[in-house]
């Protein structure tokens, strides 16, 4: 554990990101001097008010954007662009509408040149693993929101990435589905199983309780420009799924809420103007 701690899988070193606002507007400072080490195999949650730069942060780690200042290292090397070792689950699914469930899941292996038989078999297995058996030949528009989310997860798993970058993956599904998907996500990640090659998860969410339930650490971002306001360790035992109704969870959620309350209040006040 200590050895892993000393060598982060992702390191953000004073990372800032400034956007040129569209149509000749001014500059938007989305993130300012974010420094953060992500440990291998940990489940890290990021919470913060809308517009504080959570998606921007994930895009930087994914390699879709490059920082305006500072440096991002993956396993000690600078990130130069998107790569299959860092899988992303997007806020709005981003499934390929012209590909069936199987076609979406196998796209990663296909792009990396895996043979037809092998990738088909693997995609079939994954579809079953995420509970999409029987829906393999459906197109995304024929699926429910929860099923699309499962499909996006299976597509990510097909590449066996070392890091899962997840942008509010459960925001758009109903409450029951969300609870079920949280449990499954934990199961697929390897919750409660001690394993050296467990993937690292960076999980952006709006839900404080979701962050507490899933994560080892919660990063709280302050808004405009996005800065790290607090990093909170969640010392709950794993596996987590059975803890859903334990009072301890509610206590931590309350504690976290008090940290971000001022921030949220200010955000609302600003929006009012």
């Amino acid at each position: 554990m200590d050895a892993a701690m000393s060598k982060p899988i992702i390191r953000l070193d004073a990372v800032s990101k400034t956007f040129q606002a569209p149509r000749g507007g001014g500059m938007v400072e989305a993130l300012r001097e974010i420094s953060l080490d992500v440990r291998p195999g940990e489940f890290l949650s990021i919470i913060g008010p809308s517009g504080c730069g959570k998606s921007t942060l994930l895009s930087l780690v994914a390699g879709f954007l490059s920082p305006s200042a500072g440096e991002i290292l993956f396993e000690g090397k600078p990130i130069t662009g998107p790569a299959p070792e860092r899988g992303v689950m997007f806020q709005d699914y981003a499934l390929f509408p012209w590909r069936t469930v199987i076609g979406n899941i196998e796209f990663g292996p296909f792009a990396r040149g895996v043979g037809r038989r092998a990738r088909r078999d693997k995609a079939g297995e994954l579809a079953e693993l995420v509970g999409l058996k029987g829906f393999e030949d459906r197109y995304p528009h024929e699926l429910s929101g929860g099923m699309r989310q499962r499909c996006a997860l299976a597509r990510l798993l097909a590449n066996e990435p070392k890091v899962w970058l997840m942008d509010e993956p459960l925001a758009a599904v109903d409450l029951q589905t969300r609870i079920i998907l949280q449990d499954e996500l934990l199961r697929l990640w390897g919750d409660g199983v001690e394993s050296a090659d467990r993937p690292t998860v960076v999980f952006v969410t709006h839900g404080i309780d979701e962050a507490v339930l899933l994560a080892d650490r919660v990063v709280v971002l302050a808004r405009r420009p996005g800065r790290i306001k607090a990093v909170i360790d969640i010392d709950l035992p794993r596996p987590r799924a059975p803890l859903r109704s334990v009072p301890e969870v509610a206590r931590i959620v309350d504690q976290l809420w008090s940290v971000i309350r001022d921030e949220a209040a200010m955000a609302i006040a600003e929006e009012g103007n």
């Binding site: 879709f64 299959p84 390929f96 509408p97 796209f107």
Partner: protein, 261 residues
């Protein structure tokens, strides 16, 4: 009970469209009886006779020639339109030159090019082919470019994140994403191209269905003209139906096109 309802529905689905055609035919026949001169509105039996003669004569050749013009012009127009759209989407400089030129040329009807086409190619296959080429080029170019520019950037990111190369992104993300728009353009251009083709053959070619009309007119065979018109209408209708079928089978994934209708 249910079965007879199904039967009734089936019969109606055939009877209703048929009754429209029959009404048109009856109207025409009455007009031909009322008309002072039978050549003015040739009666159906004469048109049918001309159609049978035509079928025993040059009909197949005419249809093949017209479809050949259509395939040649539409093929080159569609390919060039797609290529230009890809180039314009990729290179801002190309777009800056092509876009305004296309905006100016686009509203000009293909038919207006007939004199220039005759001048350039002389009377022959070149005229109808050029007109169809022109008619297909712009709808496909404009729609494809619009489609490509509207490709959801997160889909491109998703593909890159999964390990797709640049080329793979173009062939497997950008092109399929633009396909509905391209199809809309293709249907538009095939409709306009068909009309332009008939016009081009009528005044600027010596083969094809349009030429056949011209030929019959030379001999004052109005029933021949009408027989050819019937053939042109049927084939024009079938072509659009074919493209519609292709569209709904290829775009089955798109909620707006495929599937249930």
């Amino acid at each position: 009970m249910r079965r007879s309802a199904g039967l009734r529905h089936f019969l109606l689905s055939w009877l209703e469209p048929l009754s429209g055609v029959v009404a048109l035919a009856v109207g025409w026949q009455i007009a031909s009886m009322v008309a002072a001169n039978p050549t003015l509105v040739p009666p159906l039996q004469t048109i049918w006779g001309a159609l049978v003669d035509l079928a025993h004569g040059d009909l197949v050749n005419d249809i093949v020639a017209s479809l050949f013009h259509l395939a040649g012009g539409f093929g080159t127009g569609a390919i060039l339109g797609l290529l230009l759209a890809l180039l314009c989407a990729r290179f801002e400089l190309v777009a800056a030159v092509i876009d305004p030129i296309a905006e100016f040329l686009r509203p000009i009807s293909a038919i207006a090019w007939i004199p220039i086409a005759i001048l350039l190619f002389g009377v022959g296959q070149g005229v109808p082919m050029f007109l169809i080429f022109y008619a297909s080029l712009f709808p496909i170019f404009v729609n494809a470019l619009d489609g490509i520019r509207r490709v959801d950037p997160t889909l491109v990111r998703a593909a890159e994140m999964l390990g797709a190369s640049r080329r793979l992104v173009v062939t497997h993300i950008v092109l399929p994403a633009a396909l509905p728009a391209v199809f809309a353009g293709a249907r538009l251009s095939l409709g306009v191209g068909w009309v332009a083709m008939v016009a081009g053959e009528l005044v600027g070619a010596d083969t094809g269905l349009g030429y056949r009309i011209e030929y019959f007119q030379e001999f004052f065979s109005m029933e021949g003209v009408m027989a050819t018109i019937v053939v042109i209408g049927i084939i024009g209708y079938l072509l659009d139906a074919l493209l519609r079928l292709l569209q709904s089978s290829l775009l089955r994934w798109s909620p707006a096109h495929g599937g249930s209708r």
